[in-house]
Symmetry: C2
């Protein structure tokens, strides 16, 4: 057989996912050019940025028509004759955002792929490149943290937030984790504490004297991680320590970050941003990136970094999966599986 | 004569300057202890932070009763027997904020003073420590500027703003200077251009397509200096380049700095603060501080850094001077002179 049948999830215009997404059948030749690699996709998550890219509202706009999906893990089936970096059976993830992971197979130049351990759960491999890497870099590159230091974060129940909790725990950092109040708050608190959270508090609690007591017993955080913006970010700034750093990596509230002038001048706080896709562009082959994947895979093997609670859909049920990913409170990440394809 | 009669401007409560400021007569002994220095003050400016300190609204609250004034130049009259750093005839400025410069004479430990060239105009020496040093440090320590690079600033007509223009010019940096519109705008534009401003634009112009043309011809600034906050700071962020730095050193509008999330994440802009008083505390005897004063005094001698346009009041007329300093648009900085005292 000289070709492979491929099923992809694509769109040829920007818009509401339920209207613009469709599946496409295609074939790719099995004969590879010298630098190419053929992979079979295993799993790919549905991230909020995927939805925004479909809508055309994300900072990265793919050229249309586009295969959807920025993250996921695949298995190498065949490599071109000049490819030494990979061999059949290796697992790979896309080196950069925009690869198009929601498909059963892909052929591309070897430079487009990064090898990843194939002795970790596929779900961990498929969800490693965006959220755990974002958490890792923010904890590593900002605030000059030492063991025992304290980090405060909002959106603590998000995928990034849960990664922050676990990586901080592995590095002996303490965390103060802010979540929105909800009916089953006790269950959430206990889940995050099981992951390693030092403190879990609600946004309501943050505005009470109890929060001041907590801060005065623990000391002021050197690093604040902001995935929300608006009032929630302003609360982080209220509690961060002098010369602290606030890293913004998301803006779930769709409100800007508001910083009182005195926080900059007298508290000497720095406010910066982190964007994982850009870091990857600038560090495509950096040793820091290799070290990061090695460390994160070690944590996964030691069960110090578990994948997000997930609900798995077969790729052909992408429409249902996307719909489900867009509905309100997300207890579980939606993940597409290609394992039932040859 | 074994004592010196001293006239000081003091307050023993916080409040409106016209109500709480008063002059005080005192005497100080001429006999110095081994580490002390006796100085005669020559000149001291009235800065906005002096007013706020009198009101009790500044971040630094002096212990009361307090002698007013953070900045100024004095001449050494006598030194204690262990003092090698200074000799009679030397000029000095306070090493740190909060010294109390609005008085005719002072005695204090030698560590409280920093020697400054006595071959520059007294007005330059009296106004060097706050505004030119703030401008120097912001241009030197942030944004990694190279000759030819562009800096954008609001509040360009302020004392800091005018120092920024001149120091930038001396260092071959280009400046885009934003000022508020006013009746005699042409006169202001020509004054700032005489100082070395590359471009002077009004806040109204900043929101027009002309500003975009200006930016696209000059390139995007690597550094933005914000003394205003609110909308004015948001405009700086609109024009700053990718990976640029915005340094906030003042908040004249009394509005916070509002940063759209994408400016942090996708434009990778850092927002930080600079406070000269704190820098001085951390660099009391650093070589960087010596180098800064040497360079600034060289610029003054070469007429590359001229003092702000000023109106001089005798110290005993402090009430009139303070009142005048608090009135709306300030064409000229108000400065107190002690030269008619012995």
């Amino acid at each position: 057989m000289s070709t492979i049948n491929v099923l992809s999830v694509v769109h040829d215009e920007f818009g509401v996912p339920s209207k613009v997404l469709k599946s496409a059948q295609s074939t790719i030749p099995k004969a590879l050019s010298s630098n190419q690699v053929l992979i079979k996709m295993l799993m790919a998550p549905i991230n909020p940025s995927d939805i925004n890219m479909i809508e055309g509202t994300y900072h990265l706009k793919p050229q249309l028509p586009a295969v959807v999906g920025n993250e996921g893990v695949g298995e190498v089936l065949e490599v071109g004759r000049n490819v030494d970096y990979l061999k059949p059976g290796d697992w790979v993830i896309p080196s950069q955002a925009g690869f198009g992971t929601w498909r059963t197979h892909a052929v591309d130049e070897v430079e487009k792929f990064r090898k990843i351990s194939n002795d970790i759960p596929p779900l961990s491999a498929a969800t490693l490149a965006v959220n755990p890497c974002t958490a890792y870099r923010m904890l590593k590159d900002f605030g000059n943290l030492q063991p025992g230091d304290i980090v405060i974060q909002n959106s603590a129940n998000s995928a990034v937030g849960q990664s922050v909790i676990q990586i901080a725990k592995a590095w002996n950092l303490k965390t103060i984790n802010i979540v929105r109040n909800r009916d089953n708050i006790d269950k959430l608190v206990s889940h995050l504490k099981d992951l390693g959270a030092t403190h879990v508090v609600t946004e309501d609690f943050v505005r009470t004297p109890g929060m001041k007591e907590l801060i005065s017993s623990e000391g002021r955080p050197k690093l604040a991680l902001n995935g929300v913006g608006g009032k929630s970010a302003t609360e982080l700034l209220r509690h961060i320590g002098s010369k602290g750093v606030m890293v913004t990596y998301g803006g779930m509230s769709r409100q800007p970050v508001i910083v009182p002038t005195g926080v900059f001048i007298f508290k000497e706080v720095s406010a910066v941003g982190y964007w994982n896709s850009q870091w990857n562009v600038e560090n495509a082959t950096s040793p820091e990136r290799d070290l990061m994947f090695d460390e994160l895979c070690d944590m996964i093997r030691e069960c110090k970094l578990i994948p997000p609670q997930s609900e798995v859909f077969n790729l052909e049920n992408f429409a249902e999966a996307v719909q489900s990913a867009m509905e309100g409170f997300q207890e579980k990440k939606k993940v597409l599986s290609m394992e039932n394809f040859d």
